[in-house]
Amino acid sequence: MRRYSFKHSSILGAAAAALILFMTIGTLGAVIYRADGLTGISAQDWHVIRFTLTQAFLSALCSILFAIPLARALARRAFFGRSLLISLLGAPFILPVIVAVLGIIGVFGNNGIIAKSLNIPTSIFGFHGIIVAHVFFNLPLATRLILQGWQAIPSESFRLAASLNADCRKVLERPMLRAVLPNAFLVIFLICLSSFAIALTLGGGPKSTTIELSIYQAFRFDFDLSKASLLGIIQVIICAMTVLVLLKITKPQEPTTGLDRPVEMWEKPHPVLDVLWIVSAFIFLAAPIAVIISDGIPQILNLHSSLWPAAIRSIWIALLSAFMSLFLSLCLATWIVSLKTKGKWIEFIGALPLATSQLVIGTGLFIIIFPFIAPYELALPITATVNAIATIPFCLRSLVPAIRDAEETFGKLSDQLGLSGYARYKILIAPRIKRPMGFCIGLSTALSMGDLGVIALFAQPGGGTLPMAVYSLMSAYKMEEAASGALLLILLSFVLFWIFDQWGRKNAHS
């Protein structure tokens, strides 16, 4: 097969791919080059590596263990608010980490609700705090992944099982879990491997430090590039291996629609248990947010003076980052689709940001820029760019299938009519992908808005983003001011996501 109308897209696509390669592998190269030879792995480094792997393993395990009964309960029970609850399970993905951390401290911390009401001393800092925060973020993700598994079971299978009086858990749930769980486990494991903000805020000193956090400390406190690069390489190797396994076991999944209807199961044992699971999961997930709202509201009209300028900076970064991410993803996605099966390789490049460490990218950019201009001057554009690169894998996931679908349905017609270059984009592609496009901009905006990563490397006092400002207040134990900042952050993140997502939905053509 030969397509004639893709010449422009391959130039732009190749440029986008080159930029991603530069930002992921190029920056790592810069760090290694500047490191003047790697020192050996110290005992402390080994501890950090072990800690990172252990916490990621346990976080993924706990998330999945709790998600199995929760997903089962949600799959088979129909109740008022079910579909709302399931859509809320998607919310933690764009919830700023610092907000959740503040909320978790507000519930489980030594001044939190539990400590106060039960009058027992609690501490949330350290290993268990990191696990709790990771489960808070990833239990909903795991639940949604398993629910998709439930939904993918054909309804005939449930009917067959019912007519044979077979045990649904044995003949349907277990095979489904065997297919879904490895994937879900690895995705969460990967997310927790590169955990920075949670370890930064809830980690308790040198004993509970992740690799990403150590890179930050080596760079920011000691300017020890040799150590930073060594840890960076280790981080990339671990993440890349996880991604490779993940790609290997992930089968192309057909998009399952309709998580909003329960499965057809006739025998529904343990109604009390199901209710218990749903209610306790809801409390676990909602309580931290409720704490932020109740603590934040009194101060929301009287915000700490550092918060407004930080909020404005954050909005700029988020918008800049989202549009960069969308532009790069579009270039890349169009190229991937035009390459047909060969596009797999480019898709792999598009997934690279998942395997690389944001802190390494930041350090590398610092080294590259340093000879020319003080990197602190460029803190905001750099943060926006790194955020944009980091969200490309998610954007590709929704854009590539949409563009592929448009090309499959109308590609020949467009070739016939001579639609090429920008005209092809404007007439064929853009109108067909409004909805995923809106979702992508919304997602990237919210992710960048809440990001507390690279900015921590570059920010000068009084020049950070809103999450940085909230973190500073929190570090100074100004918890109520921090809560009001967190509330502002949630509002901005979700409102921006909602605006763009709605734009996509409204303008979507069937």
Partner: protein, 231 residues
């Protein structure tokens, strides 16, 4: 005159050879079992698949290596002939300007064409607001406006009911004969071929038959196609 000169097309494991000459203004059906290569042949003529060897020429011009939009060819696909997000006027206007910068003169030509196919006043509607038959009419209008000498019909109007399908085939052929097009229609249904075509090409196992007059073709089907066609 369209000449396929020892044309060879490779599509996956599948190979098609074609060697035939089609007279100007003919209305010709390509008929054969599914998987025999009907659509592959059409794709080769329209430029979606590059032949491995041989030549395609039209009126003494070699078109073997031209892009689909540069060929003297327009196509009516089985479905998805209209972009659902564009108005009827825009959909038809694509025949005049791929960038959709339509001037007053262009709009007048579009309206005239809509008149001709019985869709006057439908300029600003979206395809979803039209019935299946009306959508087919709009697609025919665009092909007429493209005004290219060769028209390919790829199992046309498959989504329509039998009566409407016949009506559209008749309209199509009537319009295309009036405007002196050469028409090639891929079909698996002998009734369609008998209804509109004056010649037939049989296709089986990756090979094409000679171009035969419709009557002669069905009287004595070549290449053992009689089993497929039934009696």
């Amino acid at each position: 005159m369209l000449i396929l000169d020892k044309l060879e097309v490779q599509h996956g494991n599948y190979r098609l050879t074609a060697d035939l000459t089609l007279k100007k203004n003919a209305v010709c059906a390509i008929i054969g079992p599914s998987g025999a290569g009907k659509s592959t042949l059409l794709s080769a003529i329209s430029g979606f698949i590059k032949p491995t060897s041989g030549r395609i020429s039209h009126d003494d011009h070699d078109i073997t290596h031209l892009a689909p939009s540069k060929r003297p060819v327009s196509i009516l696909f089985q479905d998805n002939n209209l972009f659902p997000h564009l108005t009827i006027e825009q959909n038809i206007g694509l025949a005049l300007c791929a960038k959709l910068k339509l001037k007053g003169k262009d709009k007048q030509r579009i309206s005239d064409m809509l008149n001709l196919v019985g869709l006057s006043g439908f300029e600003n509607r979206k395809p979803a607001q039209l019935s299946g038959g009306q959508q087919s009419r709009a697609a025919i209008a665009r092909i007429l406006l493209q005004d290219r000498p060769l028209v390919l019909l790829d199992e046309p109007f498959g989504a329509l009911g039998p009566a409407l399908k016949d009506e559209m085939l008749d309209l199509c052929v009537d319009m295309f004969r009036k405007t002196q097009k050469t028409v090639i229609m891929v079909t698996h249904d002998p009734i369609d071929a008998k209804r509109i075509s004056d010649c037939v090409i049989g296709i089986k196992d990756g090979k094409t038959s000679d171009v035969l007059p419709t009557g002669a073709f069905f009287k004595e089907p070549p290449m053992g196609l009689s089993r497929y066609l039934g009696s």
